[in-house]
């Protein structure tokens, strides 16, 4: 239920590794800031007032927070090991499954490639909903399993262990009281991410999500906008 703390066990999933998350920051998240911008545009199309109060769950190095701040938003970040050096409005060291925040504080909650780290996503989403104003929005981007080919879930440890199908994600959102407004496929970002990982020498243990041949591991990357009902 919690993000891992302390040194990761041997053979830990890439996305769980704090060294990766600390170093990666914006440059290596699938889609980068361009994807965040695209997601925010979709939110605004659906009625999100802007600038707004935003929480970035899993803010890491704070690149997303910085981006929001530059646009005039009040941005808060939450991470189990934040690595911001005082640029963002405020960063909280806390566990996303038990956020020490009051109810209805934010108009927008952003989860970029972070929910797949959790096995109990429901609890995390409920927390997100709690801190959202009524009618507030969730912007989520994450890996998802696609296609009818056999979902080849690796034995728990690989990068795609937290990837669910699109239906599963949307059911999780619904279960927490979030209505999916938009879905966009951005799976090309995974291919580009795999390329960047190789280029910058961050080697994932086991296969990268894009390592499939013949489509055996049909992992995609999706962007969702959901509204708290």
């Amino acid at each position: 239920m919690t993000l891992l703390e302390g040194p990761p066990p041997a053979g830990d999933a890439l996305w769980n590794r704090q060294d990766f998350r600390a170093v990666a920051g914006d440059a290596l998240r699938p889609g980068g800031l361009a994807l965040t911008a695209a997601g925010v545009a979709l939110c605004r199309e659906s009625g999100l007032g802007f600038p707004c109060r935003v929480l970035d769950m899993g803010c890491g190095a704070g690149a997303t927070l910085e981006w929001f701040e530059k646009q005039g938003c009040t941005a808060w970040g939450l991470d189990v090991a934040p690595k911001c050096d005082g640029n963002a409005h405020g960063t909280i060291r806390a566990d996303a499954a038990a956020m020490p925040l009051k109810d209805a504080l934010f108009d927008l909650v952003v989860c970029e490639c972070v929910l797949s780290l959790f096995s109990d996503v429901g609890t995390v989403l409920e927390g997100a909903v709690r801190v959202l104003e009524a009618g507030g929005m969730l912007l989520c981007s994450d890996m998802y399993l696609r296609g009818p080919s056999s979902p080849c879930r690796a034995d728990g440890v690989s990068c795609v262990a937290g990837a669910r199908s699109r239906d599963e994600w949307e059911a999780l959102f619904a279960g927490a009281g979030l209505r999916t407004l938009h879905f966009r496929d951005h799976s090309r970002e995974l291919a580009l991410l795999a390329a960047r990982l190789v280029w910058y020498g961050i080697s994932p243990c086991g296969e990268t999500p894009c390592d499939a041949s013949g489509g055996r591991r049909p992992v995609g990357y999706g962007l969702w906008v959901a509204r708290r009902s």
């Binding site: 440059a27 291919a191 390329a195 960047r196 280029w199 910058y200 894009c210």
Partner: protein, 71 residues
Amino acid sequence: MSLEPNYAPDEAGWECGNCHRPLEQGKVQACYLDAAFDVLLPRCPVCGLTMIPKSLAEGKMVEVEALVEEK
């Protein structure tokens, strides 16, 4: 903190044939299709002539080109 790979020439002794200056590592952007990558490469400080060492071309580059192409 910079992440980009730093590729010095595979052997010592290279300099710019035109300007006769020793080479310095400079940051450039390598592009392929819709992706761009930062890298430090040997360059002539005067004319900008840039070297791609064989170890880079036949190593990371070919691997990353295939990933970007989804080959």
